[in-house]
Amino acid sequence: MGWSTLNSNTNLELNREDVIPSRHSNPFATCWTRPGALPFLFAEGLTAELLIARLAANRWRGQIIGPHGCGKSTLLATIAPLLRAAKRRIDVVDGFEELSRWRRWSKRLTCRWWNSGLLVTAHRSVGLPTLMELSPDQELVRRLVSQLCERTATGLSAADVDASSARHGSNVRETFFELYDRHEQLARARVNRRRQRA
């Protein structure tokens, strides 16, 4: 996978003072990285359809587990159209373990009573069949960054991305925040060098 640093058609080549600020100034701005803005990237062999099939095989009950910032909400946003197409009653709860024990118990009972499916996300197992356990690795982060940089080039190198990913582990959200800062740093350093030369 190649990394573009300076693309002849990007804003980075221009004096930053000439650049009109917009959401395209930084590919890691929250408008591009928030859940729903980026499609979920499945690992090799996994697809959204397969996930729905697993859910169906477990009588429409399941959990998606993973640590902070690993993409659980993004995954829900990605599979939402398939859930609707299933034409089945399904309750989706994002952050199931944040409900009280009583609410969790009553939710499960209510779903059983109404013969409704239940799909939840959580940081740890809440007793439902595990459909997917998210653990983003460096390769996934590289792919996500590559996608983000299709719209706006960045001066970041693959080493920058790998180092940030290694620091934050599976918390992709924090990785993006750090890469945001790094992109800003590089862009402004470039402007400073140009000013000094001028």
Binding site: I20, P21, S22, R23, A29, T30, C31, F177, R188
Partner: protein, 144 residues
């Protein structure tokens, strides 16, 4: 479903404006036959980008609606004009950016929307430099 080819342009080629200056431009939709546009909404607005949630506010808003007997044919260029406010200025900060743009939203049949944006700069605040604001302890400064 294909989307219409929209041309949204500002009269000021540089895209740089000063507070209180008049912003003018035009928009139209290319095509040999008119698109079935239910409504068009043109906004002159600012929004924030960066590491925070997006805030935005609309300074100027104009809505054109397709009515029976008065069809909305956007192949004819439509002009718009507004006097820009004194604030907020465009700002290219580190974690907060204040961005101005002209946004055209076309409401198409079956609830689809087409969105086109042209950014512009209000004011003359330069981008924040990397070295600005770095914190150093006075004791370390004087011990050199």
């Amino acid at each position: 479903m294909s989307t219409p080819s929209v041309r949204l342009t500002l009269d000021e080629a540089s895209g740089h404006y000063q507070p209180g200056q008049r912003l003018t431009g035009r928009f139209m939709v290319d095509g040999s036959k008119p698109w079935a546009v239910r409504a068009s909404e043109l906004s002159v607005m600012w929004y924030t980008a960066g590491q925070g949630e997006e805030d935005f506010s609309v300074h100027y808003f104009d809505r054109l609606v397709d009515e029976p007997g008065l069809p909305l044919d956007l192949r004819v260029p439509r002009r718009f004009a507004t006097v820009l406010p004194q604030s907020p200025w465009s700002y290219d900060g580190r974690i907060v950016k204040v961005c101005w743009c002209v946004r055209l939203r076309l409401t198409l049949p079956q609830g689809n929307d087409s969105l086109t944006e042209v950014p512009f700069r209000l004011g003359s605040v330069p981008a924040v430099e990397e070295s600005q604001g770095r914190e150093e302890s006075p004791e370390s400064e004087t011990q050199g």
